[in-house]
């Protein structure tokens, strides 16, 4: 495994910020009542994470160790404010629904955690890639949770897609079934906890199998390559 593959593996599965590190659960549970809300918050977090990782990695050699945390906090806070302003301007309705949870990205420990644990020790391209992968790992879980809750609760998927993708997306949503009564538990916060728990359980169940699949394949490839060289020689 080269370093890029290792970073992807860590961010998307092995060390997934939501499923394994369990960071940022407050927004994760609060806004994932529809897939579109989840996507909106996930993209905002992804953007902040990439931005903060790049910035921290660029300045990592100039900052004395003692003031690194205040500097990280400033970088993250200003990035979040910028994202907040941009969302307010260009995705007004989505911003209204997500409300307080956009500024709260500041308190998502996954972001300062990556700045401290990875970006401040690695070069810019790796830091950026790590931000992308960790952010995607978070986004995928958010989206899965949002989609499950929306389907269970409303029988729809991607309702309100126009809030992110503009007017063209207003008929993107699927109506899978229209229940007489919504399964409210799925939309309410307790449902988020229960479904999140089930997702974690599912991940743990298939952990070994997928690890074997991903890491095992890599070793197989190298063996094959070795055999090719001996035959041609």
């Amino acid at each position: 495994m080269n370093q890029y593959q290792e970073i992807s593996w860590q961010g998307l599965w092995k060390n997934n910020p939501a499923l394994v590190q369990m960071l940022g659960l407050c927004p994760l549970l609060a806004v994932t009542n529809t897939a579109v809300n989840a996507l909106g918050l996930g993209l905002a977090t992804l953007f902040v994470l990439i931005g903060s990782n790049i910035t921290v990695s660029i300045v990592r050699n100039w900052i004395p160790n003692e003031i690194r945390i205040p500097v990280f906090v400033m970088v993250i806070a200003s990035l979040v404010t910028i994202v907040q302003l941009l969302m307010n301007a260009y995705t007004y309705e989505l911003y209204q629904t997500l409300g307080i949870f956009i500024p709260l990205i500041v308190t998502n420990c996954a972001i300062i955690g990556r700045a401290e644990a990875f970006a401040s020790k690695n070069s810019v391209q790796f830091a950026a890639y790590d931000g992308l992968m960790m952010g995607s790992g978070f986004l995928v879980v958010l989206l899965a949770l949002g989609a499950i809750r929306e389907v269970l609760g409303n029988g729809t998927l991607l309702q309100g897609a126009e809030q992110i993708f503009g007017e063209a997306a207003s008929n993107w949503h699927l109506v899978l079934f229209s229940p007489e009564q919504n399964f409210l538990l799925a939309i309410l916060p307790p449902g988020a906890f229960i479904i999140m728990g089930l997702l974690i359980a599912l991940k743990n169940k298939y952990d070994k199998r997928i690890e074997k699949l991903v890491i095992g394949e890599k070793t197989k490839q190298t063996i094959e390559r070795a055999r090719v060289t001996t035959e041609s020689a």
Partner: protein, 207 residues
């Protein structure tokens, strides 16, 4: 090479970061300010458009706005529609404080004969599946208000059916429609006593 104390150096770096990050935020603020104001106005305008037919007025209604205190002492905004400077309708914010899960924000449009043009729910936290039928997306219950007015004779009818009035309640949820009906009635009565067109524009001063 200058010999600087490490603490001074750290403070300079911190100050530099503070300046740069604040600068970036300020820059973004400047660049997005107009768009945000525009988006907010559009949102208001869109709701107003649902309530007041566009051919009724020709002023910039979202800007022709005053702030008043309603019966409960809450600050509400009043948007005024005029046709060639003649008053034709007002759109008022109305707050029902007694919803099942807290307050319900409404928008009520009233024409000059004190008849309701329409009512919309702007924001609420009622139980999904029960009380949220006050949203136009969920049911057309709220359109029942259109064309009604409060007079001395029909005061009693302004209540939900369980309380002997003319409005349907939802199965399993009486408190929500009761709160909405009460708030709309209060707003109508309140609006009759006010001269809402006299004042100049005061909304900007609110913030």
């Amino acid at each position: 090479m200058l010999n600087i104390h490490p603490i001074s150096k750290a403070s300079f770096i911190l100050a530099a970061f503070a300046l740069v990050t604040t600068g970036l935020v300020a820059l973004t603020h400047l660049l997005t300010e107009d768009t945000i104001a525009q988006a907010q106005e559009n949102a208001i305008q869109q709701t107003i458009n649902q309530l007041v037919p566009a051919d009724m007025y020709n002023n910039a209604i979202a800007q022709d706005c005053i702030v008043k205190q309603d019966v409960n002492g809450e600050n509400i905004r009043v948007f005024r529609a005029r046709f060639d400077e003649h008053p034709v309708a007002v759109v008022l914010e109305s707050i029902a404080p007694n919803g099942y899960n807290g307050r319900i924000d409404l928008l009520v449009a009233i024409d000059t004969e004190q008849r309701i043009l329409g009512v919309r729910t702007v924001k609420h936290t009622e139980t999904p599946g029960l009380g949220d039928k006050i949203e136009i997306k969920k049911s057309n219950w709220i359109t029942y208000f259109a064309g009604l007015s409060v007079t001395d004779d029909n005061q009693k009818n302004w209540a939900v059916r369980n309380d002997g009035g003319m409005f349907d309640a939802f199965t399993g949820a009486t408190i929500t429609p009761r709160a909405v009906v009460g708030a709309v009635k209060n707003t109508l009565v309140w609006a009759q006593e006010q001269d809402l067109f006299a004042q100049g524009q005061t909304c900007g001063e609110k913030q």
